[in-house]
């Protein structure tokens, strides 16, 4: 009767040791790699709202409507280095609306009025149509519907607007609802190193359909 508990105790200690190893091993392995986790990222070259030159594709607002957050984590971003500073920005104005007395369309395109338009540089008050204008997106209002992105495509605009996941807002769902709904698989879990590359490419890609990085048929490299 005395040996029985002792043997059970020994087995229990052994099982405890195995359990500690089974928990501790993976923990140490994963802790070494933690901090480099990926984020959901929109590939601008794949997003149909941004695809330069590809006319006839339907407007897509899946980023705004399918995100699990009350206000989607996707925002439109104006790439200032590519922006033409147009007077009549097709992303800002609804260019199909009636032209007012000031020569500008009377309606704005953004359903949430999230774009700010400010004259910049040397402003000539006698020639308002030929001044330069800066378009900034108010991130508190934008819901990433992509209407402005779609409108700024060629031939109307230079394609300076794109959609971007604000990963400070994104809750990193395992199964991103936008990724599930995206018709072009443009949103993907991307590691941080790859993310840096994609953002840089989107910022630096020269404008034009001869850009080797932007393929109108949808594929990227």
């Amino acid at each position: 009767m005395n040996e029985e508990p002792t043997r059970r105790d020994v087995l229990k200690y052994a099982a405890r040791g195995v359990g500690a190893l089974a928990v501790g091993g993976p923990l140490i392995y994963l802790a070494n790699r933690a901090g480099a986790e990926g984020v959901w990222l929109i590939d601008p070259a794949k997003c149909i709202n941004i695809r330069l030159g590809a006319t006839g594709v339907p407007f897509c607002d899946k980023c705004a409507t399918t995100c699990v957050l009350p206000l989607s984590a996707v925002r439109a971003v104006n790439e200032f280095a590519k922006c033409g500073r147009c007077c009549i920005c097709p992303g800002y104005f609804d260019v199909t609306s009636e032209i007012g007395r000031d020569g500008l369309p009377t309606r704005r395109l953004c359903p949430r009025d999230a774009i700010r338009r400010n004259p910049i540089g040397d402003v000539d008050p006698d020639d308002p149509l030929n001044n330069f204008y800066d378009y900034t997106i108010d991130e508190k209002l934008c819901n990433g519907c992509g209407k402005c992105v779609m409108a700024c495509k060629e031939p109307a605009g230079l394609g300076s607007l794109r959609l971007e996941v604000r990963y400070d807002l994104c809750v990193d769902c395992n199964r991103c609802a936008i990724a599930m709904a995206c018709p072009e698989d443009a949103i993907a879990m991307t590691s941080k190193e790859k993310m840096a590359l994609t953002v840089t490419r989107a910022n630096e890609a020269p404008h034009g359909t001869d850009d080797p990085h932007i393929d109108v048929t949808g594929g990227t490299e």
Partner: protein, 322 residues
């Protein structure tokens, strides 16, 4: 490239035709090129593009600290204070914070699959907060049992609070249903080790209670969750006992735990009231079974020998070395 300003020209053409059109200003600037800063003039410099801020790290740190604090409290209340009332307070607090405020995410149950993916796919990593949430309850299970289940886990908390009229599940049925969670665990691991295209995070997708935490969710899962809660009025914590895949891992580890719940303060009194009071069927031969005890502290509330239930004039019994 030659058609770039077509649309703008078109608009201008319309504006000239329209009787109430512009006051004759001409739109002469080409828009197929980006104007250099010098052309814009007045010292204009192209502003930097707004980039998203990295996720606030302190928020994750708060979650991890609160988890550690709640687990410490749960262990202290159940093993030290032996008080059901205090545990109910902790349960409500954790349900409000981890459940309704943090919307049931991060949770270690779903993290099973993320951790499995990170272990098998070198290109996938999990953040520190997920590691804390996944491994802290496991380490605690090896040391002092399933303290995470008692009061901390929001999925357990929502079921624990709806349990109004507990009935005992027949032991054989209880054991048979209890194997379901191991099958679910194997299925979850199977879907996690699959190649990235076939990978499916089934635990999060078919989480029955997260829809209640977020006040929104797929209708069929809300129905399943509602059904489990309705069942949970009579059957103690059905998801935890029969389905929770994390509970399966905890049960294996807690079997060998160093300390655990001791029910009778003095071993002479074996009245068996605790066995009837346990809604989980986790008391066998007057002793808590560490693998299935969920630290709900109901047994203490019904024990006539617990100091908390004794009149203060009666000498306090020894607490049995906890």
């Amino acid at each position: 490239m030659k058609q770039v300003s077509l649309a703008v020209l078109l608009i201008l053409a319309i504006s000239f035709i329209t009787p109430i059109g512009s006051f004759g200003a001409e739109y002469t600037r080409e828009v197929d090129v980006v104007p250099p800063d010098a052309d814009i003039g007045n010292g204009y410099v192209t502003p930097p593009v707004q980039h998203p801020q990295p996720k606030a790290a302190w928020w994750s740190a708060v979650d991890a600290l609160l988890l550690a604090l709640a687990m410490g409290l749960s262990a202290w209340i159940v093993l030290g204070r032996r008080s059901r009332n205090w545990l109910v307070v902790l349960t409500v607090g954790c349900l409000l914070y981890f459940g309704f405020y943090r919307e049931g995410c991060v949770c270690p149950i779903g993290a099973i699959q993320n951790v499995t993916v990170a272990l098998t796919d070198a290109s996938y990593t999990v953040p520190f907060v997920v590691l804390v949430f996944f491994f802290l309850p496991l380490i605690a299970a090896l040391l002092i049992g399933r303290v995470f289940c008692g009061g901390v886990c929001p999925l357990g908390a929502i079921q624990d609070l709806v349990l109004l009229k507990p009935v005992q599940v027949p032991r054989r049925l209880d054991k048979a249903l209890g194997t379901l969670k191991y099958a679910y665990l194997i299925l979850a691991v199977w879907y996690a080790v699959a190649p990235a295209v076939d990978r499916e995070f089934i635990i999060c997708r078919f989480d029955p209670f997260v829809g209640f935490f977020r006040f929104a969710g797929p209708g069929n899962m809300m129905l399943v969750g509602g059904g489990l809660l309705a069942l949970g009025l009579f059957v103690g914590r059905p998801y935890c006992r029969y389905l929770c895949p994390y509970g399966a891992i905890l049960a294996i580890l807690a079997r060998f735990s160093w300390k655990g719940v001791t029910i009778t303060p003095d071993k002479e009194l074996d009245c068996g009231l605790c066995v009837e009071s346990c809604p989980l069927g986790a008391i066998e031969q007057m002793r808590a079974v560490p693998s299935s005890c969920l630290y709900c502290a109901r047994c203490f509330a019904s024990c006539p020998r617990e100091p908390i239930n004794l009149p203060s004039t009666v000498p306090q019994p020894d607490r049995g070395g906890v």
